[in-house]
Amino acid sequence: MSVQDQIKGFGITFRTMLQKPLTLGYPEVKTPVFPRFRGRHQLWRYDNGLEKCVGCSLCVAACPADCIRVVAEENTQEHRVSAGERYARIYEINMSRCIFCGYCEVACPFDAITLEHSYELSERERDLMVYTKDMLLTPAPKQPPLRTEGQRV
């Protein structure tokens, strides 16, 4: 190997040192996601506070991983929870089984459930991976940044 080759080799090293790194300093810097990214689920309410979910269990039928459990109950005059006739008394998603295919979102005729962008979903205990309706009705505390259209990393 001649001296010239070494200079050429180190030239690449020094040139690369001046470039902006392609990596992100996760977890300090969160990886941005695209609008279509499917992460943690969220249940939605109408503006008047009523839940959109009517407990029809279409999401349960669509789920290939069998990770959703819905128990429906009738709305009454005194106790009105959802806009429809019935509401979901229990709505649970087992996040450790979920494969984030988004079929529940596709199946829901009322846009009551959507997959949002939050992807940091680890827990210390398995039981905590079963998300209840109250957890799903509140937005995820940590939202990752959204990548604008056509933005490169």
Binding site: V33, R36, L58, A61, P64, A107
Partner: protein, 450 residues
């Protein structure tokens, strides 16, 4: 029993084995290997190895018992959990016995309990480096059974995404097989581009891997705004990136030394073993399903199928790199001539109605409920259709009985079939070359075990 007697027995046994070898019978050896393979617990394996050692010590001087070495299943150079029971004579591999099944997840069986729609999310997980090809083969078979016409735009979208997937799959192969042979830089370079391609997957399908983007009848969604621009940026930069990889490897003395002349099998033997894909084309057989049996509108694209001459690991490397260039060309043609029209077929008995109609049309809502809860009915029959996956012919055989669930889904996975070539290849090769061979065959264990 005296030592002399034992020696005599061992000599006799060896002579019998030699006689069996001359006559082409390798019974005793095979049985011993089977016993090794069947050892489930470490204690048992140890006991068996000790017994083997005792046998080896008692053998007459000069006779060489092959040493049994377990390569894998947890080994960085076996491309996943592949276990090779290797018979070594010094540095030379006398024989290998692949043991598979460590990644078996029963996907084919699980498909029988899911509707045709749900099974899409399962088949994508088999060969985890080429998720789009898995669904493509599956959806094509189901569409064949349904006699469903896929819109041109959907076909072109499928071709575009498939070719992008071919690039990412080849990049993983390039990075990891370079890593195994000591070229660590190329790994970082290859994964740099792969991550950008995964970004594009995320943008169009919502997932970076195991994408369920292709649906029966077309694609789940159209291209999002800004996608075309990003993809065009990617394909204009990609050829110069491939030049970089070639600059690092093609004339690299270490790379040439490790890959040239390694893992050569004659073309007719490869055909006999059912090998497809780059491994077959490297040996000079011009077989590419995209040309031989065009599907999904591949006949409209202008591309060449790279064919090698020697059929060694170096040729396979060259062919994969050239295939990436051809994929770039196909993606460019897709972007230039993307036809207008719907991204999914308009068949209310099979395809979910458009989202907007659910709030206004009662009929759409009924179809939606029926499709989600029951799934669509597929007429009785069986269909096989194959796509050219980065590793070869990926076929899917679906049997339907008229109900909403498949009776049988079988995948002809090229990784599984190509694994057969490893044994004749590895015989009487050096152990170090075996690593290069595993790398050059590009078997994905998720596809082998399913």
């Amino acid at each position: 029993m005296s030592t002399d007697q034992t020696d005599v027995f061992a000599l006799e046994a060896r002579e019998a084995l030699e006689a069996a070898r001359r006559e082409g019978r390798e019974l005793a050896e095979t049985e011993r290997v089977v016993a090794m393979v069947e050892a489930r617990t470490p204690q048992e394996a140890l006991a068996r190895t000790r017994a083997n050692e005792a046998n080896a010590n008692s053998a007459a001087p000069g006779s060489r018992e092959p040493m049994m070495i377990n390569l894998g299943p947890q080994h960085p150079s076996t491309h996943g959990v592949l276990r090779l029971v290797t018979e070594l004579d010094g540095e030379v591999v006398r024989d290998i016995h692949p043991v598979i099944g460590y990644l078996h997840t029963g996907i084919e069986k699980q498909c029988e309990n899911k509707t045709f729609w749900q099974a899409i999310t399962l088949v994508t997980r088999m060969d985890y480096l080429s998720p789009f090809f898995n669904i493509h083969a599956y959806t094509q078979s189901v569409e064949k059974l349904l006699d469903l016409e896929v819109p041109t735009r959907a076909q072109w979208l499928r071709v575009m995404i498939s070719e992008l997937n071919r690039i990412t799959s080849h990049l993983v192969w390039l990075g990891t097989s370079g890593l195994e042979l000591g070229a660590i830089t190329v790994f970082f370079y290859a994964y740099r581009e792969r991550d950008r391609a995964l970004d594009l997957f995320e943008m169009i399908s919502g997932e970076r891997m195991n994408n369920r983007y292709f649906q029966v009848g077309g694609c789940a969604d159209d291209m999002p705004p800004g996608f075309e621009k990003l993809l065009r940026q990617f394909v204009t930069e990609m050829p110069s990136r491939i030049d970089e990889y070639e600059g690092m490897l093609s004339a690299n003395p270490i790379w040439l030394e490790r890959t040239r002349g390694v893992g050569i099998l004659p073309a007719d033997q490869l055909i006999d073993l059912g090998i497809t894909g780059p491994a077959l084309r490297a040996a000079g057989v011009d077989l590419d399903l995209r040309k031989a049996r065009p599907y999904s509108g591949y006949e409209h694209f202008d591309f060449t199928v790279p064919v090698g001459t020697n059929g060694d690991a170096y040729d396979r490397y060259l062919i994969r790199l050239r295939e990436m260039r051809e994929s770039v060309r196909i993606i460019e043609q897709c972007l230039d001539g993307m036809p207008e029209g719907p991204h999914i077929a308009d068949d209310r008995k099979v395809v979910l109605p458009p989202r907007g109609e659910l709030a206004t049309s009662m009929e759409a809502l009924i179809h939606h409920f029926k499709l989600v809860t029951e799934g669509f009915q597929v007429p009785e029959g069986e269909a096989y259709s194959a796509v050219e996956c980065p590793r070869g012919e990926l076929g899917c055989y679906v049997v339907a009985d008229g109900g909403p669930k498949p009776v049988r889904v079988h995948m002809r996975d090229p990784s599984f079939v190509n694994l057969q070539a490893l044994r004749p290849m590895a015989k009487n090769a050096y152990l170090a070359d075996l690593i290069a061979m595993i790398g050059s065959m590009d078997n994905v264990m998720g596809g082998v075990d399913r």
